[in-house]
């Protein structure tokens, strides 16, 4: 039934969007937590600059971000060439590039949520962990991380939703190639550019919204479970 409802090309956009969004979230989780930790706790010279850089994708028009990515990670750009040669990691006009674009756009949202959580952790608990012989890194894993789970979940779902809706940076960086870089939002865009495409655009929009809302609800369900555990009687 759904098969009749969406064309194979549309299906592939749905599948690709899921892959891209999931990859974006998965890839930005660890760096996102690390950066949030640095910003929340670090006392180093470049802290404010890092803070600004992290927020940049939020401030810049997405198209500008896509353009910057193209200039940095394009096939002919230094970073892009380096990664392609040494790690075999090619972004330009690949789905990996779409994932990179989405990750970059979602990054400030992820970092903010995690950071807010970190800043509300009772540091006395961490100190208690240290007195029990745990190296600060262990304390982070065993105490801080579990306590900020709600923030991580919130950040991840924001990042995921952003990835499901991100259009400007993606289309600018990796274009809109069906089966390779055509995600749901870029497909929707293409439909809105021609007469009569509204119906199909709307259908795809609904699919995209449904997926994001499902992710949202799942994350909230998880967060509530975690929070209930943490609740002080």
């Amino acid at each position: 039934m759904l098969n009749a409802w969406l064309s194979p090309e549309e299906w592939s956009a749905v599948a690709l969007s899921l892959k891209v969004a999931a990859t974006a979230v998965a890839a930005s989780l660890v760096p996102g937590i690390a950066v949030a930790m640095l910003l929340a706790r670090g006392r180093f010279p470049g802290r404010r600059a890092l803070d600004a850089v992290v927020h940049l994708p939020l401030v810049l028009p997405p198209v500008a971000v896509g353009y910057l990515l193209l200039l940095t990670f394009g096939r002919r750009a230094p970073a892009g060439a380096f990664l392609a040669e040494h790690l075999g990691l090619v972004f330009s006009f690949r789905w990996t590039g779409a994932a990179l674009a989405c990750a970059v756009m979602g990054f400030p949202l992820l970092v903010r949520a995690v950071r807010l959580s970190i800043e509300s952790v009772d540091r006395r608990l961490e100190k208690a962990g240290e007195t029990l012989g745990a190296h600060p890194a262990w304390v982070f894993l065993l105490v801080t991380l579990p306590l900020i789970t709600p923030g991580i979940l919130a950040g991840a779902v924001l990042c995921f939703a952003k990835a499901m809706g991100e259009f400007g940076a993606t289309i600018t960086f990796v274009s809109n190639i069906p089966g390779e870089t055509q995600t749901l939002p870029t497909a929707i865009y293409a439909f809105t550019q021609v007469p009569g495409g509204e119906g199909r655009a709307l259908r795809l929009t609904l699919v995209s919204v449904a997926i994001s809302v499902a992710a949202l609800w799942a994350s909230e369900w998880l967060a509530r479970r975690v929070r209930r555990r943490l609740a002080a009687g």
Partner: protein, 240 residues
């Protein structure tokens, strides 16, 4: 996937309806897949510059094709002006009297305090053509502060369709398909630079792309383009 199994066509987003049909037909005929990436011409041109795996480039105006050519990104020999379009003045379905687009026309009065919806007059081809036409007709000065510039021509159409703007300037192809607007007048073809959709192979085009470009000139393709309101201008050159 697209890269290995078929060709990649970079086409201006406004060509989508016609080109989807044509790509499907070509695929059936040749057995080769043609993946079409639709985006703004400017975006596509810059991406080709950045090494995009495009085989064919279909631009919505000459400027961005010229840009690509100047950077040596296309095979100049393969370049043709494939399609043409016309510019029309539209109004919401049940509103406004017909206007004769003659030199000295007072569009400002026709706006009655409202805005004239156009695509970006500096940036978007449809907007640039529209501005040129208005200048030629001596109407530009009267309306230049009353213009609502949309991101693209489809958004300009939307402003008129939703009744936000009493008048708008869009392509004939867009106006024809939307029942909530009506064409008030068509701009004389000589009032603006020719509205042309050039096509070319890129420098890195795979061999199959040449056949696709040729197919764009086939009667079948011509029919599809014309069905969607484009005027067919010329058969692409297939040899180099």
């Amino acid at each position: 996937a697209a890269r290995s199994e078929g060709i990649v066509v970079f086409a201006a987003a406004s060509l989508r309806n016609a080109l989807d049909d044509i790509a499907a037909a070509w695929q059936r005929e040749s057995g080769t897949k043609a993946a079409v990436s639709y985006a703004g011409s400017n975006v596509l041109a810059r991406q080709i510059e950045a090494g995009a795996p495009a085989d064919v480039f279909l631009s919505a105006d000459l400027d961005w094709m010229d840009y690509a050519a100047s950077k040596g990104l296309i095979d100049p020999a393969s370049r043709t002006n494939l399609l043409g379009n016309a510019l029309v003045l539209i109004a919401p379905k049940d509103e406004g009297a017909d206007i004769a687009l003659v030199p000295g026309v007072d569009l400002a009065a026709a706006l009655k305090g409202g805005r004239l919806a156009m695509a970006g007059v500096e940036a978007v081809p449809a907007g640039r053509y529209g501005k040129a036409a208005l200048q030629r007709l001596g109407a530009w000065e009267g309306v230049k502060d009353r213009i609502a510039q949309a991101e693209n021509v489809r958004a300009a159409l939307l402003f008129v369709a939703r009744g936000e703007a009493p008048l708008g300037i869009v392509y004939r192809t867009d106006a024809a398909s939307d029942p909530s607007v009506r064409v008030v007048a068509t701009f004389p073809a000589d009032a603006h630079p020719p509205i042309l959709y050039p096509a070319a192979l890129t420098r890195t085009a795979r061999p199959e792309a040449r056949a696709f470009l040729a197919f764009l000139g086939s009667p079948q393709a011509r029919q599809a383009f014309e069905r969607h309101g484009f005027s067919f201008r010329g058969k692409p050159v297939s040899g180099s």
